[in-house]
Subunit: 240 residues, 4 copies
Amino acid sequence: MSATTARKERERAAREELILDHAQRLLLRDGYQNLNLDELAEAVEYSKGTLYLHFSNKEDLALSVATRALQERADLFEQANQFTGRTRERIRAVGVACGEFARQHPAYFHVELMLKSASFWDRASEERKHLHSLQASRTFLSVNNIVQEAFRVGDISKVGTRPEEVTFGLVSVSMGSHIAAASRELAVACALADPFAVALKNGDIFCDGIGWKPLFADWDYAATDQRIRQELFPQATWLH
Amino acid sequence: MSATTARKERERAAREELILDHAQRLLLRDGYQNLNLDELAEAVEYSKGTLYLHFSNKEDLALSVATRALQERADLFEQANQFTGRTRERIRAVGVACGEFARQHPAYFHVELMLKSASFWDRASEERKHLHSLQASRTFLSVNNIVQEAFRVGDISKVGTRPEEVTFGLVSVSMGSHIAAASRELAVACALADPFAVALKNGDIFCDGIGWKPLFADWDYAATDQRIRQELFPQATWLH
Amino acid sequence: MSATTARKERERAAREELILDHAQRLLLRDGYQNLNLDELAEAVEYSKGTLYLHFSNKEDLALSVATRALQERADLFEQANQFTGRTRERIRAVGVACGEFARQHPAYFHVELMLKSASFWDRASEERKHLHSLQASRTFLSVNNIVQEAFRVGDISKVGTRPEEVTFGLVSVSMGSHIAAASRELAVACALADPFAVALKNGDIFCDGIGWKPLFADWDYAATDQRIRQELFPQATWLH
Amino acid sequence: MSATTARKERERAAREELILDHAQRLLLRDGYQNLNLDELAEAVEYSKGTLYLHFSNKEDLALSVATRALQERADLFEQANQFTGRTRERIRAVGVACGEFARQHPAYFHVELMLKSASFWDRASEERKHLHSLQASRTFLSVNNIVQEAFRVGDISKVGTRPEEVTFGLVSVSMGSHIAAASRELAVACALADPFAVALKNGDIFCDGIGWKPLFADWDYAATDQRIRQELFPQATWLH
DNA sequence: CATGAATGAGCCTTCATTCAT
DNA sequence: TATGAATGAAGGCTCATTCAT
């Protein structure tokens, strides 16, 4: 690849990022159906035709937005996987990463749910669809690996339960908490102070429920949180 | 009211149900934005104008679909509330009711999430909006009342936790589980046998996690399930 | 005709008047195209079907409104024709009648202009169309008769001008003045105090212009006005 | 601006004129409410979407039609204002211009009246509304300036009458005559030979009526007409 | 005769996608 | 390669008219 070609490729990638940035903003504001390509083109200061040089259609574009967010999520999860300590500490690191992600992508789950619409996948390109499932796998495996390790080392000893069931439970609690927390009405009715902290707390309860050692009461998780903060998210100021 | 008027009223109500049935089907298949009133009219075999005799606009119609489902859910929850026994048995009855509901409304949570779309509530009639929040309250209170009772009688003794936080957790686990279970990919990856049973199991784990007595291991919940089945859902054949 | 039939006929006529009253009100408020038969039926407290027992379609209804107003106008004009005195006094009586009519039918000319829409006459019933032109003739002749008389007795002696041209001029001045006066912008720009008086004044100027005797300056028209008021509109309190 | 941009701009303006031409034709034939954008798009041989690249909605389009005609009218009036001579000669030039305009826009006044419909102005763009009132002012001032000059130089000496009242009268006579002349029935009843000449004649009568010197009988207005014809409308063949 | 529920053609407007330049 | 003018199908909503009761 010549130097010129390389530069052009870099410029192209940068522009794609720019498009995705604005598309994400508009998607979160308006939802998929109300995403207007005229407005997007205006926002990125490129023509509508140029958008189509990057994405073969609107579905493709939206899927890319979701995939990019999912990739970020997977990156954070894998980063959290580097955390050393007991398995429950490590799954906690993933929980913190998940919260951090939710803080940066306030309505990610709504975008994700948008993708469930059956008619959606018909028109997206195969390549984009593949990329998406790749990131989904990375996310899933990050959690599942820790759970399997927990079973292996005896931190979880629940008989009659497969690791995947625990992983599924963790995913459910996390996703459910973030979606429920995003509901103004429910958050008000329950007088939630910090909608992000609540997901972590629900995760704790779930882990205690399956007897994942060390139990919340038996360990200084405040100290663990401090380590997570220092080692994984040193730049973040939001973790208390 | 004359006999004729009464009959007409009945026919009107029946037709409204018919419209809602088909609207629900199309909503689940296509999502709100792709719901096509022409197609709906065709499906119910009434004219488009007739749809507008029942609902003042598309938003009103979709909201009615969600409200009707939510009402059914609230009915089941209140019915479950009649169940006698320990508080954890009673919350289990609600969990069973929730599973029953999910079985009958496979994608209810997606419809519910659709309503979160900001622009949605602008055009629906005040009456329909009121009806919806009414049913939402009934659902919430059904759970919250049991949780409060559990705190009162000492079945839950977790310090530093308010009843509403527990309720919020239960809602999160339940909703998260049903949404996650509806995701084909995840269900396959986790090799879930029964997607509805998993929500109940996650609920058990969560309740154990907060130390809601009697814990799962300390009680014959199979017997409780049998009572629930007999007393609340005698007609249902799906409870194992 | 039996007594019962007669009573029914009276009731029918009364209802038709009621319909026309409300239709006129709605026509002036909304214009023809925005006239809504649902709203009209609601207003008259009869069903939409009943409207169609009186009028074969919407055009027919609107034409009837216009015809009824025109008939009132023709009645007033013929009444004014009874006024005794010089021909110019008599045409003044018609002018006063015209102003009185305009006061009672603030936007009559707009309704009349509405009827000019070419496509309008296609669907109205022949009978209604005939009735309309009948009233139009009565109006025209009321004016034209006086003008012819003025030529005959020498009150107008303009050579090279036919009576019909004068009549046409009078109609133009009157209609133009009332329409122009109904235009807020123009009325404000010209600082018009009394939009109805201005039509009369323009008529005076026009009559003076053709030398219709006695000229405005040569006669006590204030006294004439008083007579018109007493003899033709004794009940009206608005004539100054 | 590059040559290409300039050419595109020209083409755009030309197409806008084309749209307005057909829109005007359809408006006069069908009225505003019956103006069908499908038919218009068909007529101009551009797509409906293209219409919306020029006009933001139907109201905007119709207003533009009216404004364009009004602008032409204002241009003619200001051109007539250049005419030199006695004030009454100059107002006659405006009258001739008005007749010329009416000849080219047979039903202009109906379009103008259409704009009076209350609901009309709600949706048109501010810019178009501003343009319209601008042209309306130009038209009004063209007449009013001459009238004021006539008062100033003593050509009109009618006491107790403000210039604006005279202007209002002239507008009324002119508008009324053109509207009345457009009415087939009335024109036939009055056996009008030339419906455009009659407006001029009514204007003469009105001017004589207020004593605007030189009176019609005291001046060779045929010669004035000839000068108007030569100086203002040399290309027109219709002035007799 | 009177009703009013039901109809369905019709219309304005939007916006994803294309393609000539 | 990048553009943006042009497209035209699609969809929500209205309302005059009909007709079974």
